[in-house]
Amino acid sequence: MAAILHEEYPVASDDYAGAGKVSSRIKELLKQMGFGPDVSRRAAIACYEAEINLIIHSDGGKVILEVSDEGVISLAFRDVGPGIPDLEKAMTPGFSTADEEARNLGFGAGMGLPNIKRVSDTFDIETSPDGTNLTLTFRGGI
């Protein structure tokens, strides 16, 4: 399974001004590649939520997009910390640790991770104080 595309995008902590830029770029690429509406939409929604998570909660990190020649979209979100203290709680719909600043901007409703899991085909998360690795795949092939 060879990669048609491999791209990495840095995401800075607290970069609210740039919020959504990486997701917009990835959404545009998925459309150009000709993925169907359903898989593109799911990947776009997950990507946006996860990108916002990096901005609000992490100390910075990157998004890695990989598309295989068989039409599998893989999105990886790697950050350098501080990790998710209670992963089980974070996976509960409505639970949020987002601060006032983020909530005032309309983020941090506590639906991020549950939503991401709902729309993705596979969902893997590992977290420690040194960083969180979130890997999602979406199957777009026939």
């Binding site: 150009q32 590649m33 000709g34 509406p37 939409r41 946006y48 598309v67 020649d69």
Partner: protein
């Protein structure tokens, strides 16, 4: 079904300034054989190219008035958007008189249907609990969603264009009552509506027979509109439906007009960020349909005309049968389902070609962007040598080479 653009290229002395090529949001315009070529499959009839051309080289026209002669009984429908552009009811009545004088047997105000369709849209949206609705009254936005935002297709309201509903109702009313062939004409406030009729663009699936461009008849209207009047009872809801500033306010309804705002809303909707709204009322033209690109004058004041047009008691919203309003799968993509693997291979080749191009998106080759150029090269329609920048660099290298020698 082959898609056709309503926009014609007419200017022999076109200076190839590329403004239209560059402004086209769907990259439908290119220069082929020294002429502007409009790809009907890509064109969404937004008319941005028409507006941007300083030399009036691009235009949109409807059916000629001579088409009236092909029918025994003719009806001209006038939408609320056109009526809203006139400051008093007397003026609207004069306009209706002048339109009838063009040769129609009847001139029908369809602001009531416009209003009924708006009310129905709000009703559908209120019923939606888990999802939101996007209005489907603007042909440009419908095409844009179909081609560029297919992820949002399931959100489009399953309603017909109001003038199509009106045409069906008029035909039912006249059936058996008038002898001979009935012709239903729609007076259009915008270029895209010209395509929502059987003629002039041969879109035979529609109920309306002919689309007439307002700009084509304005001279006659101006000449005759003070000569007489036809009583008109405009419907307030219909008038409101044609200008975003007048759409009834509800906290769950998001209103947007103009290309940039509309695409911003669609971009956000794709990320599911507009869940708190149950309705997105969208207009491609600034100031909505009352700002239609086939109208003339100041569209900003159209909202000020509402009160005067509705005084003395406005018309009521008529009862419209459900099956006259609803449409099924109007906009499901017709494009062939191509294998993803095949598409990915094409994408890979395009990307490899793109890396060899200059990447300036200068349009000098006659195509809007380097990506479009790369696609055309992969399809075998152009070659790398057609890139002006690459050729210029090559020439320069050759010259420098000579100098050194």
């Amino acid at each position: 079904m082959v898609k056709k653009t309503v926009i014609e290229y007419t200017l022999d002395e076109c200076v190839k300034c590329l403004k239209c090529v560059r402004v086209c949001p769907t990259s439908a315009l290119s220069i082929v054989d020294n002429r502007i070529n409009i790809d009907g499959e890509r064109c969404i009839n937004c008319m941005r190219c028409v507006k941007t051309c300083h030399n009036k080289g691009l235009q949109a026209h409807g059916s000629p008035l001579s088409a009236i002669q092909d029918y025994d009984y003719t009806v001209c429908m006038v939408p609320a958007a056109i009526s809203l552009r006139f400051p008093t009811r007397e003026e609207v009545e004069g306009v209706f008189y002048s339109i009838k004088k063009l040769g129609f047997d009847e001139v029908v105000d369809i602001s009531g249907i416009d209003g009924a369709m708006m009310d129905e849209t709000f009703r559908i949206a209120d019923e939606m609990v888990t999802t939101s609705i996007i209005t489907a009254f603007c042909p440009v936005i419908n095409r844009l969603i179909e081609d560029s935002y297919p992820m949002l297709l399931p959100h489009l309201a399953p309603l017909k264009y109001p003038h199509e509903t009106a045409a069906k109702m008029i035909r039912a009313r006249l059936s058996g009552k008038v002898k001979g062939k009935v012709g239903i004409f729609n007076l259009c406030e915008c270029g895209a509506l010209l395509s929502i009729a059987k003629y002039p663009f041969e879109n035979m699936q529609y109920e309306t027979d002919h689309a007439i461009a307002m700009t084509d008849v304005i001279p006659m209207i101006q000449r005759d509109r003070h000569e007489g009047r036809i009583p008109v009872n405009l419907c307030e809801e219909g008038l409101r439906s044609s200008n975003p500033a007048l759409i009834p306010y509800t906290p769950e309804c998001l209103r947007a007009d103009g290309f940039d705002k509309v695409t911003d809303v669609l971009d956000m909707a794709e990320f599911d960020l507009l869940k708190s709204f149950n309705l997105m009322y969208l207009f491609m033209c600034f100031n909505g349909c009352a700002g239609g690109n086939l109208l003339f004058g100041n569209s900003y004041i159209s909202r000020n005309n509402l009160d005067a047009l509705c005084e003395d008691g406005p018309g009521t919203v008529p009862e419209v049968p459900f099956d006259y309003m609803y449409t099924e799968h109007m906009l499901l993509p017709e494009k062939e389902q191509q294998n993803v693997v095949e598409k990915l291979n094409f994408f890979k080749k395009v990307n490899e070609t793109l890396e060899q191009l200059a990447g300036l998106d200068c349009s000098a080759c006659g195509l809007k962007t380097c990506r479009i150029m790369a696609e055309e090269i992969v399809r075998g329609n152009r070659t790398l040598g057609d890139c002006r920048i690459l050729s210029a660099r090559k020439d320069k290298d050759t010259e420098t080479g000579k100098d050194e020698a």
